[in-house]
């Protein structure tokens, strides 16, 4: 006796959260059944393995049918085939678009292209996440990217509107899209200590301050080929950053800056002497990062540079985080007292964001 056909269809579509998770994690039906057996469900319910098998198959089939709709979540809301309560719809969408930290760290900043997709095998082996799950997560990134790529307006809002994600998840996706668009390097060994959250935090600051959308410039001519307002860095701003060069190139200015900072921080910093000794190097590093941002290559290496030029030197001198904060605050603020320096607004736009990023990046 073999079961040829075995289905269960409810007027309200039954969603088993546990099975959904197993499905999302890319387990085959057989593996999922084995995992469920191990969870002790048979003892709890008195069911047999055959019942579990049939149940799992059923749910997998339902999820498979739902997947097409999940690719465009508004469709899930308007479709008539599956009657699903709104709270369940939200759960389905949210879980489908959720991603693994380990996976996103591998892909973050990479071009979401076929080439990367081919590397998913390696990522799967490396992270222990099933290839199927890797594919889903990668395709999600790519799909969101494709949809919001050409759109104007707030990146987070666009994502939320088209994918009905929670605020938190939409922000994460904004970061992923932003990183993919600007191809920031995140995979280098020295960046391995950083979490996705660190990068997402930086992305949010950069989107808020360094993009065209950030300055609220509405395109005057609708036909002009404007860049995507939230996804691309403000080119003009990057060009202007060259003006900051003077802060390190002009020796008088650099000395003045240093003395202002040192005067203000004397006695307040545990690592004062190290700071004093390193000031010029650190300042040079931070300003040089700014001036190089006109080159795409250097934009990509932004995080590598920040870690190399600032985080690592401070860390090797064992600066506590509070000292880093004192220093960066004073370092940014003191520039306002440099009479010869005329680009105060530009400096604030640059340093305000950078300070936030550096503080977030500064940890072990």
């Amino acid at each position: 006796m073999t079961s040829e056909l075995d289905i269960f269809v409810g007027n309200t579509t039954l969603i088993d959260e546990d099975v959904y998770r197993l499905w999302l994690d890319g387990y085959s039906v057989t593996d999922a059944v084995a995992l469920r057996v191990r969870s002790g469900i048979l003892e709890q319910t008195g069911a047999t393995a055959a019942v579990l098998q049939s149940d799992t198959m059923d749910h997998y089939r339902t999820f498979h049918m739902l997947e097409r709709l999940l690719h465009a979540p508004p469709k899930l809301l308007h479709q008539l085939i599956f009657q699903i309560p709104p709270s369940r719809q939200a759960l389905l969408i949210e879980r489908y678009y959720a991603f693994d930290e380990a996976f996103v760290r591998e892909v973050l900043g990479k071009k979401l292209s076929k080439g990367t997709k081919k590397d998913l095998d390696d990522i799967s082996t490396k992270t222990g996440i099933t290839l199927k799950s890797c594919r889903r997560q990668f395709d999600n990134f790519k799909r969101v990217f494709k949809v919001v790529e050409e759109m104007r307006g707030s990146l987070v809002d666009n994502i939320q509107q088209h994918f009905l994600l929670s605020d938190r998840l939409a922000r994460d996706y904004a970061a992923i899209v932003f990183f993919a668009n600007n191809r920031f390097e995140t995979g280098k060994k020295k960046l391995q200590y950083l979490s996705f959250g660190d990068f997402a935090f930086c992305a949010e600051l950069m989107i808020q301050n360094w993009t065209l959308g950030a300055v609220g410039e509405a395109p005057t001519d609708p036909d002009s080929q404007m860049d995507d307002m939230d996804m691309d860095l403000d080119k003009e701003f990057l060009q202007d950053l060259k003006e900051l060069k003077v802060l390190v190139a002009d020796k008088d200015l650099l000395d003045l800056h240093k003395s202002l900072v040192c005067t203000a921080l004397r006695g307040k910093l545990g690592v004062f002497s190290e700071m004093e000794a390193n000031f010029k190097n650190l300042s040079r590093g931070l300003v040089n990062v700014a001036t190089k941002l006109t080159h795409n290559k250097d934009v990509r290496d932004l995080f590598v540079d920040l870690v190399e030029k600032f985080v690592e030197p401070c860390r090797s001198d064992h600066w506590p985080l509070s000292d880093v904060r004192f220093f960066l605050n004073q370092y940014s603020a003191s520039v306002h007292s440099l009479d010869g320096f005329r680009h105060q607004a530009l400096w604030d736009r640059y340093m305000g964001t950078l300070r936030g990023c550096l503080l977030r990046l500064y940890h072990d």
């Binding site: 073999t2 289905i7 269960f8 269809v9 008539l80 085939i81």
Partner: protein
Amino acid sequence: MPGKLKVKIVAGRHLPVMDRASDLTDAFVEVKFGNTTFKTDVYLKSLNPQWNSEWFKFEVDDEDLQDEPLQITVLDHDTYSANDAIGKVYIDIDPLLYSEAATVISGWFPIYDTIHGIRGEINVVVKVDLFNDLNRFRQSSCGVKFFCTTSIPKCYRAVIIHGFVEELVVNEDPEYQWIDRIRTPRASNEARQRLISLMSGELQRKIGLKVLEMRGNAVVGYLQCFDLEGESGLVVRAIGTACTLDKLSSPAAFLPACNSPSKEMKEIPFNEDPNPNTHSSGPSTPLKNQTYSFSPSKSYSRQSSSSDTDLSLTPKTGMGSGSAGKEGGPFKALLRQQTQSALEQREFPFFTLTAFPPGFLVHVGGVVSARSVKLLDRIHNPDEPETRDAWWAEIRQEIKSHAKALGCHAVVGYSESTSICEEVCILSASGTAAVLNPRFLQDGTVEGCLEQRLEENLPTRCGFCHIPYDELNMPFPAHLTYCYNCRKQKVPDVLFTTIDLPTDATVIGKGCLIQARLCRLKKKAQAEANATAISNLLPFMEYEVHTQLMNKLKLKGMNALFGLRIQITVGENMLMGLASATGVYLAALPTPGGIQIAGKTPNDGSYEQHISHMQKKINDTIAKNKELYEINPPEISEEIIGSPIPEPRQRSRLLRSQSESSDEVTELDLSHGKKDAFVLEIDDTDAMEDVHSLLTDVPPPSGFYSCNTEIMPGINNWTSEIQMFTSVRVIRLSSLNLTNQALNKNFNDLCENLLKSLYFKLRSMIPCCLCHVNFTVSLPEDELIQVTVTAVAITFDKNQALQTTKTPVEKSLQRASTDNEELLQFPLELCSDSLPSHPFPPAKAVTVEKASPVGDGNFRNRSAPPCANSTVGVVKMTPLSFIPGAKITKYLGIINMFFIRETTSLREEGGVSGFLHAFIAEVFAMVRAHVAALGGNAVVSYIMKQCVFMENPNKNQAQCLINVSGDAVVFVRESDLEVVSSQQPTINCQSSCTEGEVTT
């Protein structure tokens, strides 16, 4: 020109990409009704076209309005080649033809294609302007309301219940026409869908005409079925119960415009109507039709019949002789006379209802059924379907005579079914023989009904159990005792019925689903030989099914079966029998005796030991079941009986000793070699298997109950959380081990595993009950068995369930308040004018808590934030006639839909399971969409009447036909009603009066 149909095509959405180059679609719509077609403009390059068309107007006869479906086709415009069809929507406009149902159909309909399934949605608005037509000879029957519900619909009152209406229409099946060889599968499927839609429209119109002739205005318990007879044609047949219904909320405005006014109805007594059935079937006498059907038919169309009453397990061939005693008690005789006068004019005093107004059902005799094996022949003249008519007439005659033998004049809970395999067809009919209260059958005035009901309500609580036949001249051997409730009348020891449990019946403990399952191998044969073989097997199958049912009932410690449905399915090389029923312990019937096992070889010591071991196991099971289903009758029966009988103890002891002695009688019977249901003889391995299978039925896991009736006896506090589902399983038998035993085991496992799976899947709903569990078996191929189950799971409140009501009064109160709106509403009218300020608030407060189950489910539903963007309203579906915790405020019309789905890429669609899963989900979606478009939010009395699945994996093909029906309704949550009622003092009073009444 009595009607104008107006259609507007508003928009489409989620259309499929039809043009690969642009990834878009140039869609337009054809709107067709009858032979007239309109087209919208082409909406270029969009998957979400906004046609916003003008109103397309069709001027049509109301006859066409009833028969024809509105046909909407969405196409992709193609400049160079033929336009590609995207899909279709068929809209049955019948609901717009009743004056009080829906007024407009408006909403999003799934665009359906028989090859691709649902492909986007289309927004359509449909209206009908009807003109009055006083032509007496018209062929239409607009205005007659149809209900699938097998009880009086909740917001109506039955003025008169006229009786049986039936009709059938036949046609050639387009799939078997010569043209099918050259047309595409899509064209063939669409031709079939359209034809069936047309035929069911015609059938409904013809039934409506009969109802008008009977001076009714509605059909209740309307059941329409298709017989796919293959080469020989397509039969669409329907049965129902004609009624005159009166809307409760607005009594004045209930009659449809084209119907005769109610006064006139009273002047013309129904009885004078000569013969309600003559018109449809024409002068078709059995004799005539036998000459009509092709010549050898007489020789092999053997009939197998049996009257399946309580204990009569052997087919009663000579039962039609009318041996029933005519001299019962004086009361009985009087009743009989009255009923006789009301029923005798009728050709068939049958009622498809399964639940009745209080007082309607006087006595129940038992189950009557008849089966007949026929050989199908090509229907030569579709306009005169006399052969099929005659077949059914024969069977109905037999049912009628069986009922008569049981001293009954009517059959209630009546249904008909067929099973077809190649050219052999088994026709089956079954029902419950009953004695009815004549007052409902004639011009029962409202007052009359009420008074009488109030008078009889209490005394008849056990009345339906009392035997209608004469005890001295019983049609079968039965053990009679005095009723355990009233002590005045005789009752049988076991009662089988096809109806729902009467609301006023006193039940002890809970009920449970009881199934008998059976397979019999049969040699493959042709035509006549095949029919003969089947005819010969049928009586044995019926006998065994009944033995199994009886044994399982005893094993559960129960004494009555309700909702009994025995399905015999014929296949190429086997016959399958599946009987489902809900077992209960009726307080009025005696405690069932246990099951005794007897061996044939008493000298063997180890054998004896084995027997006694088995006996112990059985006794343990019975004890366990009694505990599980909370059956503890002795204390309760004595408590209840206490008052009316002076010396209760002595009496009951006496009775019990009688029942004990009856057990001895059965043992005596055994010694005479007569096999009785109580005693299992283990004389061969077969019998061993039987005993084993008896014990292998696993009870549902704790927190689960199941029944196949509307409600579960003993559970009263339903929450509003319901889940209707359909589950289908097909197993392939390995041809090697095809013995009866192996077959039985496979079939048994299939059913048991299916139930286990359901329990597992629905575990989140615990505590919960599966209600209206409906199993259907079919044998699509040689080695395939298909079982389809539709049921609804309802969560109940455990806290209240624990304090299960001990007194029947409280029980009936609760049940009444949860489901039986009729009960609620009869008294409404009584009280509302006489007692406008009835001071009952405290009573109300108490009962409201019980009546409106604000369980977790309800709460959860409400707290869920409504999705802001969603345009899709929730539509509930249930096979029950009510929605727990809610009140049905309006019936919008009948939903009767037929779909075909076919695929030539089975593997790509996820194999057979993926294919059927998607199709059933689509069918649900289409039903919901139609209900929503009518303005409804639920389908009640939903039933999947057919699910015919055929596959050809080698060709990567599969096809499935599904037929569903139900009543579209609007319901209001009781919790919402309360808000209203607190604002409106009149309603408040009404509900308090209700309570006052019910508690009396």
